[in-house]
């Protein structure tokens, strides 16, 4: 059985003037111990997806339809107590903004101790020792001193490491990490990723890594989902997607990397920008920016099909596959 399966998930924002669709028909599965990445344009809905998995999507957002199953339990139908159980023990989240997790008026030590003591009944002193050991584990120097400091006294990177330490305390089945290393420099980023990887491997923890750093993704995730304007547009093995992107958006994304142009020259940006939720284009949501868009792309929504490398929602790929199939038929 899949550890987690999301199927046909639709998430909307209920605004004064209108309904805005933030996630449209998103489906994917996650096995025990598997590591997947979610990449895509800023505003594509990656964080909304991360929040939705643990049913943390706040008003005006809500899950409109679809199912999210943790083993055989339906998360969308859980009551608050069951959800808290899931969030505390089974699925841990590391957010893009460390201050969403850290309480600014408590020292980091007290926050960690509180986390420990809410799950196990041990003395403050023992909890303190465990907390300090975890801070040490995530390479925070002089953890005894940091223990008594407030979040604002730490640099951005250190705050994120404190959060990773607090996740280690929970021992979850799934970690959803929303841009966990974006605030860290590369040497520490490499160490933290190795740490996350080691935790996942050693304990069979599954990881959903939300990231825009394709270098990081290629190191960590076995499978990758590419999102654009609320849709998953491509899904497949990470290395295949990086070496042979099928969807024009994925191609544009890889092409925009600074490594793809000479220093000092303009980067290859994808023309235009992603529409806001209120201005969703008809047909394929990427068509206004796509160099290959046809009449059909402007009118109809492409289905998800397997291209031989990855699954893609794009008429260009679909037409090409059909053409090959026809040729095959003729030949035989």
């Amino acid at each position: 059985m899949n550890l987690l399966s999301v199927s046909h998930l639709h998430v909307n924002f209920h605004m004064k003037e209108q309904e805005l669709a933030a996630l449209i028909d998103v489906s994917f599965t996650l096995n025990r111990g598997e590591r997947i990445a979610i990449v895509g344009e800023s505003g594509a809905g990656k964080s909304v997806l991360g929040f939705s998995i643990v049913n943390l999507i706040g008003k005006p957002g809500y899950i409109k339809s679809g199912s999210i199953k943790l083993e055989n339990k339906e998360i969308t139908k859980m009551n608050l107590r069951q959800l808290q159980e899931v969030r505390g023990k089974r699925i841990a989240m590391i957010f893009q903004d460390p201050m969403m997790t850290l309480n600014p008026v408590l020292t980091i030590g007290d926050q960690l101790v509180e986390t420990i003591r809410s799950h196990t009944k041990i003395s403050y002193k023992d909890a303190r020792n465990i907390a300090i050991e975890k801070l040490h584990h995530v390479q925070i120097a002089s953890p005894e001193k940091r223990f008594d400091q407030y979040p604002h006294e730490l640099s951005g990177g250190m705050r994120q490491r404190v959060i990773i330490a607090s996740v280690l305390l929970l021992n979850p089945d799934i970690i959803i990490a929303d841009e966990p290393t974006t605030a860290l420099d590369v040497t520490i980023q490499a160490e933290i990723l190795q740490l996350l990887l080691a935790i996942c491997r050693d304990n069979g923890v599954a990881l959903v890594l939300i990231s825009h750093d394709l270098g990081v993704v290629s190191k960590v995730a076995e499978r990758t989902l590419v999102m654009y304007a609320g849709h998953v547009v491509e899904e497949g093995p990470t290395l295949e997607i990086i070496n042979d992107p099928q969807h024009p958006y994925t191609q544009g994304l890889l092409n925009a990397l600074p490594q793809m142009t000479l220093p000092g020259q303009r980067l290859n940006q994808i023309r235009g920008s992603m529409p806001s939720l209120a201005e969703r284009p008809s047909g394929c949501a990427f068509h206004p920016r796509c160099p290959y868009a046809t009449q059909k792309c402007r009118q109809e929504q492409p289905r998800f099909i397997y291209s031989g490398v990855s699954s893609v929602a794009c008429f260009l790929v679909e037409d090409m596959l059909n053409e090959f199939a026809d040729k095959d038929k003729e030949a035989s």
Binding site: T182, A183, D185, G252, I270
Partner: protein, 336 residues
């Protein structure tokens, strides 16, 4: 050569931790002594930023990059040292004197969540600085400018009546950049402005920053940990470690011939798309916390080349034949 836009010399910043007066007393060696913890975030930074250049600052988390940026912007008072803007000293200005520089220097913060006022719509966030700095503008000129700015950072002008929490992290970061550009400054300090952006929006924002630079001879102090961006965008690169600059070099030189042992480790750790790159140089030892003013080289605890001299004396920045400057005894002694 033109005068540098910004000149920083001997900059130091120590934070004293805000423990209560009572808890500063410790019982040690049989007597009560007052003990104040402090963190030495900057330990003598010397740096110039030229007009029209992009100076990138890279370095380990907690090494003082944001503190340096905040000191330049006058958001934190240095403990020692001087900062000059052209020929004027700016590190000891009062709020009123600072007003003049507000228009000249702008900052984009590391955390897009904290830097936008949650109770102001995007329109309000942008119209305030625009009308303040252009009192002659009519309402429709202000509106036009706002639309133009938002479009230039890839946010549709129709969303200007929304509040920050209704935008994704990357969208908020672009709104912060639009706000910085709104007053047409000479100098922008950008603290990890791209860290929340995916590569295609990153390309868009970097192109915009390069265009503005060309248009108006803008200078940037750009803090980032993304070395691919540094390689692409920087004129010169300053590598920081524990509150000091350990290497300063033209970008091409830094990437083709990194010299300081820390720079070498840093460059080897870049995650590349092709997965079979050389093993990163693993730094041994922990990232130290700068609770003491460092004696000797700031990198000595983790440096594979450290010798007695490195523990005792602080290496000075020395100019190398290829134009880079490095602070390392091993290099000076020809051991590296």
């Amino acid at each position: 050569m033109a005068t540098p836009l910004i000149q920083i010399s001997g900059l130091e910043k120590a934070f004293t931790s805000n423990e209560s007066w009572l808890s500063q007393w410790r019982f040690r060696h049989g007597k009560l002594t007052r003990h104040k913890d402090s963190i030495h975030a900057l330990n003598g930074v010397n740096l110039t930023i030229n007009q029209g250049e992009t100076l990138c600052v890279v370095g380990e988390t907690g090494c003082g990059k944001s503190t340096l940026a905040r000191a330049i912007m006058g958001l934190t008072t240095p403990s020692a040292g001087e900062i000059h803007y052209l020929d004027q000293r700016i590190d000891q200005l009062n709020n009123r004197q600072r007003m003049f520089f507000r228009r000249r220097m702008q900052m984009v913060f590391q955390n897009p969540y904290a830097s936008l006022n949650p109770r102001m719509t995007v329109y309000q966030t942008l119209s305030e600085p625009i009308s303040f700095h252009n009192p002659q503008f009519s309402q429709s000129q202000v509106d036009e400018k706002i639309d133009e700015l938002l479009e230039s950072v890839g946010i549709s002008a129709s969303s200007s009546d929304r509040y920050p929490h209704e935008f994704s992290g990357g969208q908020r970061q672009r709104i912060s950049l639009a706000r910085a550009l709104s007053v047409e400054p000479d100098f922008i300090v950008a603290d990890e402005p791209l860290s929340a952006l995916d590569v295609s929006v990153q390309a868009q924002v970097l192109n915009l920053m390069m265009d503005k630079q060309e248009e108006r001879n803008l200078s940037y102090l750009f803090i980032t940990h993304d070395l691919a961006v540094v390689e692409h965008f920087a004129t010169r690169v300053a590598v920081m470690y524990l509150g000091r600059i350990c290497e300063l070099a033209p970008t091409g030189t830094l990437f083709s011939a990194p010299k300081h042992p820390y720079t070498q480790a840093l460059l080897s750790a870049i995650p590349r798309l092709d997965s079979n790159t050389a093993q990163p140089i693993r730094l041994i030892g922990e990232v130290p916390t700068p609770t003491e003013k460092p004696i000797g080289c700031v990198f000595q605890a983790r440096c594979p080349y450290a010798n007695q001299r490195c523990y005792e004396a602080s290496p000075a920045m020395t100019l190398q034949s290829d134009g880079s400057s490095v602070a390392c005894h091993a290099i000076e002694e020809g051991r590296l």
